[in-house]
């Protein structure tokens, strides 16, 4: 099995659209995972039929029993996450801020605090035309999205370990959800765009990826919106020995197809669909050569 994560650094460069199109075009059996658990969108392009769902329990969080609390404030003064505040004569924990460290449980002189499990998300296992999709929904505002990413990957690998390809739609950024997404993958496809922000964020995410040693590949989306910045990206990638495996032109058909709930490669022939076909061919070669070396 080859594990490929589509990521970007900067948000909104076209990860999900490209992931959905690649899922349609790449040969062999595959399992899909949407690891952008904060704002998961791959299901909107994959027409999934839910097989089952499981609650996701994040870290436990502290709960103060107001009947026992004597209002001493020890918990508040020891909490490093500003998660505890006074409410009348007693103290209360804000679940949005609590990181589950349990220091308050330890420090409370009257044992008024306990750690309780809370559901902070849901992991879903669905059938799509191209194989199974594991996706998730974090309760808005909840923490531990890196743990939820881990739960999504785990379910996909347990259920479909015989697949040829594990294709991941990743999160933006470089923090814990991204690190959790790229740990253990064979290759990352970084989707960037020709803007100063796109190039800047590409450089940062490459720095993070290099700490995990996957093969790094780049695709430039909407490359024709700024030819000179697209050239800067090509040059930088050449200097860093990172292959640019695809360049997709700006094409209004992309948005139309997203509005119809399908990847652009399903919406008939278009410049974007043709470019993604080439991206898919290049990607296949890169992944095959990687697999052979392995």
């Amino acid at each position: 099995m080859i594990r490929l994560a589509v990521i970007s650094g900067k948000g909104g460069t076209g990860k999900t659209m490209i992931t959905a199109a690649l899922a349609q075009l790449l040969p062999g059996t595959l399992v899909l995972a949407d690891c952008d658990v904060d704002a998961a969108n791959l299901a909107l392009l994959s027409d999934p039929h839910l097989i089952r769902s499981e609650p996701f329990m994040g870290m436990k969080s502290a709960v103060i029993d107001p009947a026992i609390c004597i209002g001493c404030g020890e918990c508040e003064s020891h909490c490093r996450f500003n998660a505890i505040c006074q409410k009348g004569d007693v103290y209360r924990v804000s679940p949005l801020h609590c990181e589950g460290c349990a220091v308050c449980v330890h420090i409370c002189p009257v044992q008024a605090v306990s750690m309780q499990t809370r559901q902070t998300g849901e992991v879903m296992y669905s059938q799509t035309e191209r194989g199974h999709l594991v996706h998730a929904q974090l309760v808005p505002g909840a923490g531990n999205s890196g743990l939820l990413v881990h739960a999504v990957k785990k379910m996909a690998l347990e259920q479909d370990r015989d697949c040829d390809l594990f294709l991941i739609d990743g999160p933006p950024g470089t923090g814990c959800p991204l690190i959790s997404t790229i740990s253990g993958v064979d290759a990352v496809l970084i989707v960037t765009e020709p803007s100063v922000s796109g190039l800047h964020d590409l450089k940062r995410v490459v720095t993070v990826c290099r700490q995990f040693r996957p093969r790094i590949l780049v695709a430039i989306n909407r490359f024709d919106l700024d030819e000179s910045l697209a050239e800067s990206i090509r040059q930088w990638c050449a200097e860093e020995s990172i292959p640019v495996v695809g360049e997709i032109p700006f094409d209004p058909v992309v948005i139309d197809s997203v509005r119809q709930g399908m990847p652009v490669t399903r919406a008939g022939d278009s410049p974007a669909a043709q470019a993604i076909q080439i991206l898919k061919n290049n990607l296949e070669q890169e992944l095959m050569s990687y697999d052979n070396k392995r």
Partner: protein, 282 residues
């Protein structure tokens, strides 16, 4: 007045709205712009200027092996699995540590003290008159954005008028950015992705009790679903920015819409007035 600019979905134009709003306000009054998207900060690209940098550190435990008798209490206590006590030593995994200080509290021998560990930097610049830019940068490979966001916000604690640019998503970094703000501008695009993620972002603002309004960016006129959503959820439609290759080009080369096309200053002034109206200020 503290206004956060957030979105749920990435790439909808948060940074563009935050930068132009701050640029507009700085024409007449003192404003602080804070880049809270510390995983991928971009505001400095639109306001290049010499900056001073300060390290952001978090306390992490250091164990004095001479005093430690490997009793195992710290490892049992740590909820994050950051400490593993072996027969002859204690292993510490800094990337798992949340800096709660619990291990130090439970150690019966007082063998643990804390030392600062760098996780990022906060920079401070004055790219134009009346505009102060504070940016947080998370160090590469560091998973926890929240302490850097907190440090960037702390650096602006005394400022009266603050615009905060949030990261995409709906989890802890966004909560940390929005916390304590008076109003929130949610930037969206009229696609199923944009709408899906807007709903989540509205939910976060609701949970934090922050009044929110919506800006539609790159509108191609097909905004009806988003407009209906705003009506049904009693959300103020604050501004619509059309899709225009010219505007996209200004943004992609790192320039500002209001600087290149000053006719937009009025629209961003109106956006600020609507934020004030949300909060109930004139």
């Amino acid at each position: 007045m503290k206004i956060a600019v957030a979105s749920g979905k990435g790439g909808t134009g948060k940074t563009m709205v935050a930068a132009n709003l701050a640029f507009t306000l700085a024409q007449t009054c003192q404003v602080t712009l804070v880049d809270c998207d510390v995983e991928e900060p971009n505001l400095h690209l639109f306001f290049p200027a010499p900056a001073t940098a300060k390290d952001v550190t978090v306390p992490v435990p250091v164990i004095d092996e001479k005093i430690c008798d490997r009793c195992g209490k710290c490892g049992e206590f740590c909820q994050y699995g950051a400490l593993t006590v072996l027969r002859d030593r204690v292993l510490f995994f800094p990337e798992l540590c949340h800096s709660c200080g619990g291990c130090m509290l439970v150690c019966p021998k007082n063998a643990i003290h804390e030392e600062p560990k760098r996780v990022g930097i906060v920079t401070n610049a004055t790219p134009m008159q009346r505009l102060n830019l504070v940016s947080g940068y998370l160090d590469a490979g560091n998973p926890f954005a929240v302490p850097v966001i907190r440090a960037a916000k702390t650096a602006t604690a005394g400022d009266c008028l603050v615009i905060l640019d949030a990261s995409p998503g709906t989890s802890c970094p966004v909560v940390e950015t929005l916390d304590g703000c008076d109003a929130c501008i949610l930037v969206t695009e009229s696609t199923p992705f944009g709408l899906h993620d807007l709903q989540l972002a509205v939910d976060v603002a609701d949970r934090l009790g922050i009044p929110a309004g919506v800006v539609i960016n790159r509108s191609d006129g097909k905004d009806q679903e988003t407009l209906d959503f705003c009506t049904n959820h009693d959300l103020d439609m604050m501004m619509t920015i059309p899709f225009d290759r010219g505007i996209a080009a200004i943004q992609s080369r790192g320039d500002l819409l209001c600087r290149v096309r000053p006719e937009w200053l009025k629209a961003f002034s109106a956006l600020y007035s609507k934020c004030c109206a949300l909060v109930g200020e004139d």
